[in-house]
Symmetry: C2
Subunit: 294 residues, 2 copies
């Protein structure tokens, strides 16, 4: 299959969805809505929304029906980046090669733009799926759990607590990555499944795929922090090392980290095989996510 063309089709749909489903820049207060759109237009790879739509299509759903859920996922992901970049958190000036929101605007606007994107995600689910309230509620629950204090926010909290702690244990590192990174990838797959009327077994399988893909994705991130360069990454390379942070690479070494990433990827791919539909795109997408160089 032509992955590049298929990926482009998905990304185009997501970009159009972002434009359609977010308030216009001119909406009062304009500064806030401009900041929200600025952060979303940073040209990320849209991995989570594409994963969500690809999963819904694998389950036989129309990709357009998955679009509002996909935009909701991207809103939550983007809010978490805006807040993580704040001076009181990771203090990053660059994101995907552009000034972060608090640099391009100011800190207060960055906090509020993040708050508004998080809230908008739930508004989108409640308005777009109002015709199927049971689906709307299931999507809301999945997203709120994945983004909540035990998972996404909890992962970021423990990540901050582990900062400069070069002796974090493998279990501590796994908690951070399962929650800070894997939770939203897992939610992308599960929400796509819910749109495609997945049964409980299928949802459990999608959760497994998301968990292993999320871990593989994070291990690759740790590897790239050592082997990549800032220009390719679009963010500062070597940041973890400079911060004396425990990563998969410091814990296991480069070779073993690579092997772990491969194992988690293979587990994810194996579970994808349990689905009867057209799994080519999802499998290729997963391979691309862990083979990326930036």
């Amino acid at each position: 299959m032509d992955l590049t063309r298929e990926l482009k089709r998905h990304v185009t749909r997501v970009e159009r969805g972002l434009d359609l489903l977010l308030p216009a820049e001119a909406t009062r207060p304009s500064r806030l809505h401009t900041a929200m759109r600025y952060s979303l237009q940073a040209g990320g790879k849209r991995l989570r929304p594409v994963l969500l739509i690809a999963t819904a299509e694998l389950m036989g759903a129309n990709g357009d029906d998955a679009l509002p859920a996909a935009i909701a996922i991207e809103c939550v992901h983007t809010y978490s980046l805006i807040h993580d970049d704040l001076p009181c958190m990771d203090d990053d000036d660059l994101r995907r090669g552009r000034p972060t929101v608090h640099k391009a605007f100011d800190e207060a606007t960055a906090v509020l733009a993040g708050d508004a994107l998080l809230t908008h995600a739930f508004a989108l689910l409640a308005t777009s799926y109002v015709g199927n309230p049971a689906l709307a509620v299931a999507l809301t629950r999945e997203l709120a759990d994945a983004a909540g204090s035990r998972r996404l926010v909890g992962g970021q909290m423990e990540d901050l607590l582990a900062e400069g702690k070069a002796d974090a244990t493998p279990a501590e590192l796994e908690f951070i990555h399962l929650n800070k990174t894997a939770a939203m990838i897992e939610a992308s797959l599960v929400m796509g499944g819910l749109v495609g009327r997945a049964d409980d077994t299928q949802v459990a399988n999608l959760r497994q795929i998301g968990r292993h893909l999320g871990l593989a994705f994070q291990i690759v991130d740790d590897i790239l922090d050592v082997t990549g360069d800032s220009a390719t990454l679009g963010k500062t390379a070597g940041k973890d090392a400079a911060a004396g942070k425990t990563t998969y690479v410091t814990l296991h070494g480069l070779e073993r980290a690579r092997r772990l990433a491969r194992e988690h990827t293979d587990t994810a791919l194996g579970t994808v095989q349990s689905f009867s539909g057209q799994t080519d795109f999802l499998r290729t997408l997963i391979e691309t996510m862990v083979a990326r160089s930036g």
Copy 2:
């Protein structure tokens, strides 16, 4: 009726609900969950959740059925206070006489505790009302709209933009107050109505009550900033004046501001009369909200 006893009954139920419906402090990461509970335990007057439950009871619903929605409203209100208090926003050290979250913990924990409370509000709605998905979706939509970029967050954005701007117009001031203050009071009444199966006309009336009560409440706040003292208020008095901020008092003078508060209160009370149930408690609650001294 014995308002004091009735109010105590409601507040006790809300306090118990907060304890039951928030993750325990020991939940990992404990620092995050401790900060969430710290912020909620600051001993506020619980006006919004009590308004919500009182409205549901007025509509004939069981107050216990309204409790998760009431806790969700209090979570969103508390998140907005935590973020508003941040150094990059209003930079407040005290809230209800206690150190604000970023003072008691740190800025990063305050940002994350706010994020987590906002997310938890939507998780609560999706899990507690899963048996009545249409209600869950209606509540989610109402809360997300009231808390979103056009209302709560938008009001705070414009409030920050108006800072030190002593020449804000009455229209600008009204935008801020309708959204920063009235939106959540309106949502409290409407969500209570939704739990009590209010029809469209009743929802529209509840929205009117909330709008006028919200404006009256904010005007009283502006008046108290001039006439109150910090000990009674539990926050720094004279802050608006010191910041050179436009308020109802600077725009209209103390006497006219008092009259405006009275007019909005009377409009709210008049609309309450359109409901056939037992309106005593709601009317007395509204009177108390605008007659408060702190």
